[in-house]
Amino acid sequence: MKLSSRERWRGVSPAPIGIFAALLCTLPAIALIPMAIADGGSHIGHLIDTQLTSYALNSITIVVMTVIGTLLLGVPTAWLTTRYNFPGRGLLSVALPLPLAMPSYIAAYAWLSMTSNGGPFHDLTNGYMPTVSGVAGAAFVFSICLYPYVYLLSRQAFESRGVNSYEAARTLGSSPIKAFWKVSLPLARPAIMAGMALVVMETLADYGTVDFLGTPTFTVGILRAWISLGDPEAAARLALILLVTTLLVFGGERLSRRGQSVAENGGRSKPLQRVSLSSHTALFAILCCTIPVIFGLIAPVWYLAILALETAPVRSPVDALQGTLLVASLSALIAVAVGLGAAYADRTGGWFANVSVRVAHAGYAVPGAVAALGVIALLAAAQSLIDTVFGSVAPLIAGGGIIALLFAYQARFAAAAIGPCESALARIPFTMDRAARSLGASRWAVIRRIHVPLALGGIVTAALLVFVEVMKELPATMILRPLDFETLAVSAHHFASDERLTQAALPSLLLIMLGLPIMILVSWMMSRQQKESAFDE
């Protein structure tokens, strides 16, 4: 009996798991297709004639500026904190990822308010500091909120990869800077690109920040087509254009890297020898690593804290806090299962599984509101299907509810879990799978007894990242939530959209406070993982 179940597992291809993940992540986007090809969409022509070019231009400009900004903030800080020793390095390397806990729309509220007339930064600099607004302002806000993606992933790359290559370059006559440019940076390119991809997708999918800062982007165009022009078909078409463009850009990047494998041989990595900096350069390093944290976290939190302290809350944030905890933790659990399944399919499956998993990543590029629209359309279709089958006894699945909400979260954020799970599994050599299988372990037992314990760090990281993302999510939560269900992001948005920043401060602050320990944990887990993998001799 026991043997037969083992045999069964051996016979099962993991591809279905990959396909499942891919479907989960892409169904809302796929649901847009029938919508896009439906009649209607008559306003596309109008948009092309008028604003679409400027929307697209704004999007491109913001993305380019944000890419540059996050690279400048993320890569040098990752390099400094991994390769050099200076006072405060340990603290800063943990603090640098923290702005990820700050939703960019909240950062936008705070920064606009701080730098516009009467705000503390405006007064402090006698009005010389430009107001954070427009294209540059949006790029600024995205840069300070999203650089941690680049920082975290490139730090991981700098720590684990190319230590030997870097040293080899040094012995071959390269200065530290040259070795960084010619060896470490190219080796970290896949990791940096992965971080970049997250940044670009979040930037493109954002609505709240750009709308508030007065710079309409392509996503604003999508929502206007839907809301103001009442043309969901046009919105669906524009959303698909955005999605396909994003996929092409990253597909192209992957293609350009084909032929060169950047995986280092052996995989043995030495414990890092950090170079101590002299007092001048140490000061520079401290400055470099402090500025992003001040801009991305300390300044806005400080401002919000003052506002929150000065204002008596009109509603208790406890319900919203509970709601946030519930959906965020549930989603984190599910996302890990999906992410692990997908990563596992990618590891052991054929090309079909691999392609499915790549496709699953695309879910991330769908703007939240559009994803929510897709989920609603999907559930409505499913409902009419089961209604015709079961009649009036059919359960109600359409519309909102926790399942719809969790589904929408997975569609958007499972991709964020697949990445870390994949890289955690990639660190486990195939020989271990084979060793375990040769010792009689089933496929499932290999996962349970080998992969999960070894990849635990990556899995927990994935769970925490999804937790933070879900915690910050707004449009899907707003529309799909069950009755009387509130999250901190929704409360903050309600107040902010009513232009009551002072009331929005408390839920915003709670949101950030909830995210902070999690980001600290992520940061700590990631560096611990590194230490473990560097353990030898």
Binding site: E167, R170, T171, L172, A263, G267, E537
Partner: protein
């Protein structure tokens, strides 16, 4: 006249409360291969990295004839030391082709000249036909050759090899050692080889240093070290050895396997007798006091384990064709130059 390219003196370095380098002296001489042999984790690699300038020391000096390189405060960076380093995992740049890897360290001259030089270097390791290949498409041995060519291309004064052959299979290792030794001799650089493989160390080295727990316990030409180890630890590092420790009586050490005289030793002082297996000669004798408990066919010789009345066992190598079998009784004698006695000075 001093041919020392690098002299290291009194190197001390601690890592997490443990001395990884404990007062190490070593000289690297032009055209000569120096090998450091020791078990894993004894600080060999640290020594190499200190000489390369990848790590600093707590105290001690590394210097060239005219320049201080490392002394705990000063640390001339690796790129200004003119050294070549070959890593255990080769550390080829995965994003560069073989030829670009070799050209990486070449900065002078036109790109055609640099290319020429790199091709010549690849030729000397028989890798010209794979010049455009990327590292992940190369076999381990091929990667090793490229790594060697890359280290030698800039014409370094010193070449450092860190367990450079340990990732390869036995046959390839022998072949590559020859290639490497030829290429190294041709370059005329001072060479430091760090390894835990005794055969490799003896094969490569002109000068061999034995390292245990951060200390160099003995150094000299490989043959001297093999034949005249100054301690059991030294003897064991270089190969299998039979040993027996006991008190000296009448200027002799009386082991259950046989007696040898020992010089300059007082009675009752403890001393150790060390006999290489090939120096333990067995003689068939039905009334002998040793029992053969095991025989193993090794190809060129037979490994024979003998047991004394005390229950201790030693091993011997006898040429094939000898008729020793399990259960036979034998007597033993020692070949003098494969036999050493060491007094336990305490």
């Amino acid at each position: 006249m001093n041919d020392n390219v690098i002299s290291a003196t009194g190197l001390i370095k601690s890592w997490r409360g443990r001395r990884v380098l404990d007062n190490v002296d070593i000289d690297l001489v032009r055209g000569r291969v120096t090998a450091v042999l020791g078990p894993s984790g004894t600080g060999k690699s640290t020594l190499l990295r200190v000489i390369a300038g990848l790590e600093n020391v707590d105290s001690g000096q590394v210097r060239t004839a005219d320049k201080l390189l490392t002394d705990g405060l000063v640390l001339i960076p690796p790129e200004r030391r003119n050294i070549g380093l070959v890593f255990q995992d080769f550390a080829l740049f995965p994003h560069l082709s073989a030829i670009d890897n070799v050209m990486f360290g070449l900065v002078e001259g036109s790109s055609t000249m640099r290319r020429e030089l790199a091709l010549r270097q690849l030729d000397s390791v028989q890798m010209v036909d794979k010049a455009e290949a990327y590292p992940h498409t190369l076999s381990g041995g091929e990667q090793q050759r490229v790594a060697l060519a890359r280290a030698l291309a800039p014409g370094p004064d010193v070449v450092l090899m860190d367990e450079a052959f340990s990732g390869l299979d036995a046959k390839l290792r022998v072949e590559l050692r020859n290639t490497a030794l030829n290429a190294l001799n041709e370059s005329g650089a001072a060479v430091l080889v760090v390894t835990h493989d005794a055969e490799e160390a003896m094969f490569m080295a002109d000068e061999l240093a034995l390292m245990v727990d951060g200390k160099i316990i003995q150094s000299g030409p490989p043959k001297d070290l093999y034949l005249a180890p100054q301690s059991l630890a030294s003897a064991r590092l270089l190969g299998e050895v039979n040993s027996w420790t006991g008190p000296v009586r009448d200027g002799k050490l009386h082991s259950p396997f046989g007696s040898v005289s020992i010089e300059k030793a007082e009675d009752n002082q403890s001393a150790t007798l060390m006999v290489r297996p090939e120096g333990l000669i067995l003689v068939d004798n039905p009334t002998g006091h040793l029992d053969i408990v095991e025989t193993r066919f090794l190809g060129a010789s037979i490994a024979i384990t003998v047991c004394a009345v005390t229950g201790e066992t030693w091993s011997s190598r006898m040429p094939i064709g000898s008729q020793f079998r399990k259960g036979m009784k034998v007597d033993a004698s020692f070949t003098p130059h494969l036999t050493t006695t060491v007094r336990s000075d305490r």
